[in-house]
């Protein structure tokens, strides 16, 4: 800091920063991207390890014997499900009771803001059935949850079978210290939302549900099970929850430890881990896995039924059975043993899971990148914004070189009025509010006047409002203060750059992936846009780098990473459905990505658009 208190050196530093601003920014951007890509390189990552002592290694012995019988129960369940045309409530209640559980049901209903075409539902009515296994000599203060969704069609029958089999087996054990709640939820996430809201007696999304009759105290951990075949080749661990929240890393460690112990193939993001990290293909495999996690996290939607638990500070994960016709087969008994082991370990917990990380990325199940390692990648990108802001500040503060015509200079010097900065800010935010509110409110009008369905109406209205925002009058300041000044756009840009820095910084703290992806595209725009660059080309680049196009690219990239590439037309349809899902996620579960983009990111981007067309 002696550097700054010495006026000469300060001047030298400032001139260096202003002279080399553009190259430094480019270097920072490159370094940020390189750092991020380096995160997947195995020598730079840490091996996972169990932090929680209470779940330390090899203290339990798994003995679950009844996998075949559980599959039989699953088949029975499927038959009753077909007969009932939905959740076989009576059968489930009776079956759970005969296994010695306290059984309760919960009815719920929900009208979606507009029809969900992916899952073909609009008016949703259903019943959750759950049975509580009361731990002997425990005062009902703590509980664990095992859930399986009752999906339409032939999916997940095996999961319900295994759940009931485990319930029967667990009932005869004496070592439980926490109540165990076995939950079969209908209509996947909507049912789970209803149950969790009922359990915690909150109502965040305006759903109707009947109050719960039985409870088990504060829930310590939850697992959701999805199995659709009798034999699976591997088990996939899904961690990404609502708003990019992740469960404590110890839960993933626990799963990994038991997979290793029992000898089950385990994956994350559907990708096995490989040992050849030093080869190119091994590295690119790790990058793919990590990128998939980043994109899922950035989407802010729950990727399994567990995702909604995280809001209540309950550590939860979904375990999915994958059957890809490989040689390696795992039967239901092994899966039951794995779950038994995990629940016995969770039962040993003396505190909530808190020892390990809550913020991490996983390039494979056995390695993780903690917040301390991945944040610099974002920090390097955010640094560009600060450097640009500093540059603009210095330009605004130092007087321009004197010319003979002093009068014109004086006018140049005069600082722009507050209004000329405030007006674009207000207008772009009003556009954002329109983007947030209009699609759902105007769906009926749109359906009346155009030959589209409700869902299409919502999505197309959103796109229309978004596009209309680009055509808004951009030179309001000329009406207010006469012609735009040179300093006017600089002040506006300074405000916009700082605004973007704060916005991205806050986003990255909560959801790193979202912040990083937005920074990747918005930071170059923010750094180099001025009214002096060639208009047509820059406008094209800006549109390409706008949030909507970022989403479009993400859709294609995601499909590519999942090794399911799509044609452009399919991709476009997928894009439309992703937008509708995003709006639905917000309305149904309170996901924050849609309001964040509509109310804050898009207006911020509009400010830069405004600067481009500054006259």
């Amino acid at each position: 800091m002696g550097l700054l208190s010495d006026p000469n050196r300060r001047r030298a530093l400032i001139s260096l920063l202003t002279r080399l601003n553009a190259p430094i920014c480019v270097v920072c951007y490159m370094a940020g991207v390189a750092w991020f890509m380096g995160l997947a390189f195995e020598p730079f990552t840490l091996r996972t390890y169990m932090s929680e002592n209470a779940m330390g290694s090899t203290m339990v012995e798994e003995r679950f014997p009844a996998g075949e019988r559980a599959l039989g129960t699953g088949r029975e369940f499927s038959a009753h499900k077909k007969k009932a045309g939905g959740m076989p409530v009576d059968w489930l209640v009776k079956t759970m009771q005969s296994r010695g559980l306290e059984v309760f049901t919960q009815r719920f209903s929900r009208r979606l803001p507009f029809p969900d075409e992916d899952k073909e539902r609009y008016m949703v009515k259903g019943t959750n059935v759950y049975g509580i296994l009361r731990a002997p000599r425990a005062p009902r203060t703590e509980a664990l949850v095992l859930s399986a969704p009752c999906s339409p069609g032939d999916d997940n029958n095996q999961a319900v079978g295994v759940l009931l089999g485990l319930a029967q087996y667990f009932r005869n054990q004496v070592f439980w210290a926490k109540d165990i709640i076995f939950l079969v939820n209908e209509h996947d996430l909507i049912g789970m939302q209803a149950w969790l809201e009922g359990y915690h007696h909150t109502n965040t999304t305006g759903m109707d549900w009947s109050p719960l009759q039985g409870r088990g105290g504060s829930i310590q951990a939850a697992l959701s099970l999805e199995l659709s075949s009798d034999v699976v080749t591997s088990l996939d661990l899904v961690l990404e929850g609502l708003n990019g929240q992740l469960p404590n890393l110890d839960l993933a460690n626990l799963f990994y430890a038991f997979c290793q112990k029992i000898g089950v193939l385990c994956t994350t993001q559907g990708k096995l881990q490989r040992n050849d990290w030093d080869s190119v293909s091994g590295y690119s495999h790790a990058v793919q896995t990590m990128m998939l996690m980043v994109m899922k996290q950035a989407s802010g939607r729950p990727w399994g039924d567990h995702g909604l638990f995280l809001r209540y500070h309950i550590e939860a994960a979904t375990i999915k059975g994958i059957n890809s016709f490989r040689q390696y087969k795992t039967d239901a008994t092994t899966i039951g043993r794995l779950l038994e082991g995990m629940y016995r370990k969770l039962n040993n917990l003396l505190e909530r899971l808190h020892q390990s990380y809550f913020f991490y990325l996983m390039p494979s199940l056995s390695h993780f990148v903690s917040i301390g390692y991945y944040m610099p990648a974002f920090g390097l990108l955010a640094l560009i914004l600060l450097l640009r802001a500093l540059d603009l500040w210095i330009q605004l503060a130092t007087p321009p070189p004197r010319t003979e015509d002093g009068v014109a200079d004086a006018e140049q010097m005069s600082s722009p009025g507050v209004l000329s900065v405030l007006t674009p800010l207000v207008i772009s935010h009003l556009t954002g509010v329109a983007l947030y509110t209009l699609p759902i409110h105007f769906q009926e009008i749109a359906v009346e006047h155009f030959p589209v369905s409700e869902t299409e109406a919502v999505v197309l209205t959103a796109i229309a409002v978004y596009t209309a925002g680009l055509a808004l009058p951009h030179n309001t300041h000329r009406l207010l203060t006469g012609r735009g000044t040179e300093n006017g756009w600089k002040v506006l840009k300074l405000v916009a750059v700082l605004y973007l820095a704060v916005l991205l910084g806050c986003t990255a703290l909560i959801n790193f992936s979202l912040g990083f992806i937005l920074a990747l595209t918005l930071v170059p725009v923010a750094a180099f846009v001025t009214p002096d660059v060639p208009k047509a080309l820059s406008a094209f680049i800006m549109v390409i780098l706008s949030p909507a196009c970022t989403l479009l690219f993400s859709v294609f990239l995601f499909q590519e990473l999942q090794e399911m590439p799509v044609s452009f037309l399919d991709g476009w349809m997928l894009y439309l459905s992703v937008i509708s899902q995003g709006i639905l996620d917000h309305a149904l579960y309170g996901s924050l990505v849609y309001p964040l983009v509509a109310l804050l990111v898009y207006p911020c981007w509009l400010l830069f658009w405004n600067i481009l067309f500054w006259k």
Partner: protein, 580 residues
């Protein structure tokens, strides 16, 4: 056919029952006026579990409060006698419970108790410093029962104004002399059982107490042991009083078997012991088996076959019991050992007990929350009042203005509210309400709270486990189906005579809700080093230099003087002349 026979037998049993107390009175009159009875009630529960309730009662006609110290003890344990006289205790009730009584499956217990430890004491009105005496008493009891009762201090002690009335004789109801505290986190184990057993006159050497083996007792769904001391009337005229020490132990065994066949239970299977004799010091030693649910003997099979039948009013219901009198040699048969065996079928439906309550914390996040207490009145047409007592630790700051009481969707105004606000680190919240429960309804009491941020030394060693809030207590006079027996001095089984019954149409019942486990905002104790480093760096580098830059004014320094001038200045300084 069989029932008729038993009716005849019952008649004879009644005769014997009525004749028994006379003999007791006769034998105890010339003796030092103390008396010991033991009793075991076995009740197959609705859910298929089995409930065993031991009761041991010692009566002693003496006065601990006399000037001269009581020094000669026979049946009454000396350690408790000294406690009574030293601390001027009028009534003392202490219970240790592991597990939660499942009202929906098990019905009502004979003696309710909350999970953890509960202690309530009425002091004599001669005590001046009640708080000091209470503090000493808890520490002494902590030693006697090997429990953490010494953690009872002013932050978890309350003085309920209405919920806990004296159960013995006496009409002092000034609640200044009452102290009530619970420790919901207390874990009950063998170390608490051993000192409890030592208080019995026969120890665990003879009588029913031989069954109390910890390896079996703690292999159960519910375990509760208690000690109750109170003054009672000696006879119906109540001319003289005597002290009653009642030790109870309730345990529920889990008999779940996956199959649908009959359940089987025997003394040996449950306690890994059989009975061979009564406690020689006991005037009465009996085993009761509740066979009410099955008069025809279709579901129950009891062996050896029952000799005596008896009826008693318990919790508003007329129950029939098979009785085994251990003082009779014939009970033990030819093998000289009694191993009761019961087979029965169970149903899995839930019960609808007349009064039932549950409680939970609503909301999410670590700032606020809401405590919900639900009270169910399942009586089809009678409404009855209940007293709700809530004692909430100070670190949950109750917003009492958010208190709502609703039943059937309508506001239900409590007719009596006693609220004592908490003081940080000094005393807890106390909320008592008298609420009328409409028939066949659920009454919901909600109150919001804010979670306090504790000082860093106030967190428990495992702060991420959460903090316990003790059970709410719901006391009520519940309408009875049958006429209750109001004559408290008449000879009746011990389990049916604990709560005094004042009128025939209703009976007293107490229900405890589950304790709550609440998370408080917890600092990350594992990272003080990082935090210290970070704050120090921020303060030193960031704040320090910024402050420096902002407060200093910078000026261009004159170029340094030449060598000659400096030498000249040094010389001038040595001479004491101001420099150039």
């Amino acid at each position: 056919m069989r029932w008729e026979e038993t009716v005849v037998e019952e008649a004879t049993a009644d005769k014997e029952d009525t004749s028994a107390p006379e003999t007791v009175v006769q034998s105890s009159v010339p003796q030092p006026k103390d008396d010991f009875q033991e009793e075991l009630v076995i009740r197959p529960l609705h859910s298929g579990d089995i409930y065993a309730s031991f009761q041991f009662r010692t009566l002693w006609e003496t006065d601990f409060m006399r000037g001269n110290k009581v020094s000669h003890y026979r049946l009454f344990p000396k350690s408790l006698g000294q406690v009574i006289s030293k601390f001027s205790v009028r009534e003392l009730h202490i219970s240790f419970t592991q597990g939660y009584w499942r009202t929906m499956q098990w019905g009502q217990p004979f003696l309710p108790s909350p999970p953890g430890a509960e202690l309530w004491v009425w002091f004599q009105d001669s005590v001046t410093d009640v708080d000091g005496t209470w503090k000493e008493l808890t520490n002494v009891l902590s030693g006697i029962f090997c429990a953490s009762l010494n953690f009872i201090d002013s932050t978890n002690t309350v003085q309920p104004s209405a919920s806990f009335k004296p159960l013995g004789i006496g009409n002092v109801t000034d609640h200044r002399f009452l102290r009530y505290a619970t420790l919901p986190r207390e874990i009950v184990c063998t170390e608490n059982l051993t000192p409890w057993k030592k208080l019995l006159p026969c120890g665990s050497k003879a009588g029913l107490a031989v069954l109390l083996k910890s390896e079996k007792l703690f292999h159960s769904s519910f375990h509760s042991q208690a000690v109750h001391i109170r003054p009672v009337c000696q006879d119906w005229q109540c001319k003289t009083t005597s002290w009653e020490l009642r030790q109870t132990l309730n345990v529920v065994f889990d008999l779940h078997t996956p199959g649908q066949g009959k359940l089987e239970w025997s003394l040996f299977k449950m306690f890994s012991r059989t009975l061979t004799e009564a406690c020689p010091l006991a005037s009465s030693s009996k085993i009761y088996i509740d066979i009410t649910d099955d008069p025809q003997g279709e579901q129950f099979e009891v062996s050896p076959a029952t000799h005596l039948l008896s009826q008693a009013m318990v919790l508003g219901d007329r129950r029939t019991f098979s009785v085994y009198d251990l003082t009779q040699q014939i009970t033990f048969g030819t093998v000289r050992s009694l191993n009761l065996l019961i087979r029965w079928k169970s149903s899995e439906d839930m019960l609808r007990p007349l009064l039932h309550a549950e409680r939970y914390v609503a909301g999410y996040g670590l700032q606020t929350g809401e405590i919900h207490t639900l009270m169910y009145n399942n009586h089809p047409y009678r409404s009855f009042p209940v007293l709700l007592l809530d004692s909430v630790p100070w670190y949950l700051r109750l917003y009492i203005h958010t208190l709502t009481v609703t039943s059937k969707g309508k506001d239900n105004k409590p007719s009596y509210i006693h609220y004592q606000p908490s003081k940080d680190r000094v005393r807890p919240h106390l909320l008592e309400m008298l609420v009328q429960l409409p028939p066949n309804s659920v009454t919901e009491v909600t109150v919001q709270f804010e979670r306090a941020l504790l000082k860093w030394t106030e967190y428990t060693p495992d702060p991420n486990h959460g903090f316990y809030v003790g059970s709410s207590v719901i006391s009520s006079l519940v309408p009875s189906i049958v006429a209750m027996d109001t004559n408290s001095t008449r000879e009746q089984p011990l389990f049916s005579s604990f709560f005094p019954c004042k009128e025939e149409s209703s009976y007293f019942m107490r229900v405890y809700t589950e304790p709550l486990l609440v998370n408080l905002p917890t600092p990350d104790f594992s990272m003080p080093y990082n935090v210290i480093c970070l704050t120090c760096t921020v303060v030193a580098v960031g704040y320090g230099s910024l402050y420096n830059l902002l407060t200093r004014s910078f000026q261009i320094e004159e170029p340094s003087p030449g060598l000659a001038k400096r030498i000249a200045n040094i010389i001038r300084k040595m001479r004491g002349v101001p420099p150039l």
